[in-house]
């Protein structure tokens, strides 16, 4: 399933984050957020290019507000990188593809 983008819900969140065999980048987004829409194609490209090294997942804060609250997300887009089930880095605000790849590179083995 190379390049797949996982849709997270309250029900599958913990299991997905814990059982992934790569770091997982979770994109917290919503339909009404312009910058969120702009980074969607960016992270989908990264999902394809980094398939096998990084899992990309999306969480809709409208539908799954309790997960957003649990991670104190107060601004979207926020992207949180999880490794072995724990948060290792958080990126607040949209950014371009190269900038995001640069931000991610220290965490990808």
């Amino acid at each position: 399933m190379a390049g797949n983008v996982v849709t997270l819900t309250t029900a599958n969140f913990d299991e997905t984050i814990r059982s992934a065999n790569t770091p997982v980048l979770v994109d917290f987004w919503a339909e009404w957020c312009g910058p969120c829409k702009q980074i969607d194609p960016v992270i989908r490209e990264i999902a394809v290019e980094k398939a096998g090294a990084l899992t990309i997942a999306k969480l809709n804060v409208d539908d799954e507000g309790d997960v957003a609250m649990r991670f104190s997300v107060m601004s979207i887009p926020t992207m949180i990188l999880f490794k072995n089930g724990s948060e290792v880095q958080r990126f607040v605000g949209a950014r371009g593809k190269q900038a995001l790849l640069n931000d991610l590179s220290p965490f990808l083995g």
Binding site: G34, I39, V61, D62, S75, A94, R95
Partner: protein, 319 residues
């Protein structure tokens, strides 16, 4: 280093000015390349400042109003229909000193006969200590993105123009109380916006006031407000701070090359979009500190496209 096929026209920036220039130049079969910028959560992004707004009520042709991002998507699609191409990157360097004109995106070089500059303006921040650290943790540059997270909280909006009032009104959908902090004793905002704010029971205005300190460890918990007349200092417990204190033109890329006024806006020759360099045209907020509306930006984008088209016909006849 990659060099890309030569173009007749490159447009830098993709707000209403850049995309209108793209519609016109594309319809004139000039196959423009639009270097539209890269995603960000400030107004400096593809689609420009309207990407951070909600309802646009004053763009002609939309009697029911239109969402800012939707309007920009429509303009983008309209230009694409006639052959405009897009590069979702930020121009990083330029050289307009020789022919053809050159624009770089990092190591990639693009050349064109004519360049239309429509890089717009970006939001100013307060430049207070801890402001950057608290962005996304109570300090926001995008009310439409973040208002949702302030349900049931008290927040402050700093500014006195249309965008400050619009943000404050929008934020009352979520917040219990919105305090507008403005350093003067009256608003710059249009009358209709002001009336809306004054009629809204959730909005309180503090005149002659400035935010002088941000307080909060993990997230913002309070702001210190100083009265500019009496000097009195007060702490307001708030969960959120939204900044809308005005804009600065995005002209760093053109420093020393294109003529600017002392606030950094590009200078165009009166009644035209021509800059001091032949074949380089400017439109939209990057050259307009007076009107700054989507419709005036679009109008000036049309001017730039027509100016560029005419310049290409005469200066480049036979090439």
């Amino acid at each position: 280093m990659t060099t890309h096929p030569h173009r007749k026209v490159i447009i830098i920036g993709s707000g209403p000015a850049g995309l209108t220039a793209a519609v016109y130049t594309a319809r004139a079969s000039l196959a423009p390349l639009v270097i539209e910028g890269e995603p960000s959560s400030t107004s400096d992004q593809p689609g420009g400042q309207l990407m951070l707004t909600t309802e646009v009520e004053n763009f002609p042709g939309f009697p029911e109003g239109v969402q800012g991002p939707e309007l920009m998507q429509r303009m983008r699609d309209q230009a694409a229909r006639f052959g405009a191409e897009y590069l979702t990157e930020k121009a990083t360097n330029i050289d307009f000193s020789s022919t053809p004109k050159r624009v770089w995106v990092r190591d990639d070089e693009y050349t064109a006969d004519a360049v239309i500059v429509s890089t717009g303006a970006r939001s100013l921040m307060l430049n207070l200590p801890d402001e950057t650290r608290l962005i996304g943790h109570g300090v926001s540059t995008c009310a439409t993105c973040d208002g949702f997270f302030f349900r049931g909280r008290e927040i402050v909006v700093v500014g006195g123009g249309d965008s400050a009032i619009e943000e404050a009104s929008f934020l009352t959908k979520f917040a219990t109380k919105v305090t507008i902090i403005h350093r003067r004793d009256k608003f710059r905002a249009s009358k209709i916006m002001q009336e809306r704010a004054f009629a809204n029971p959730k909005i309180v205005v503090r005149w002659n006031s400035q935010v002088t300190r941000l307080i909060g460890d993990a997230t913002l918990s309070a702001v210190e407000v100083t009265d500019t007349v009496t000097g009195a200092v007060e702490t307001l417990n708030v969960g959120g701070l939204f900044v809308a204190i005005g804009h600065r033109p995005n002209t760093d890329l053109f420093a020393g090359v294109l003529d600017m006024d002392d606030t950094g806006y590009l200078v165009t020759q009166p009644g035209s979009s021509r800059t001091n360099i032949a074949g380089v045209f400017a439109c939209g907020d990057v050259q307009d500190h007076t009107y700054r509306q989507a419709i005036t930006a679009a109008g000036s984008g049309c001017m730039a496209a027509i100016d560029a088209e005419r310049w290409l016909e005469t200066a480049h006849a036979g090439k």
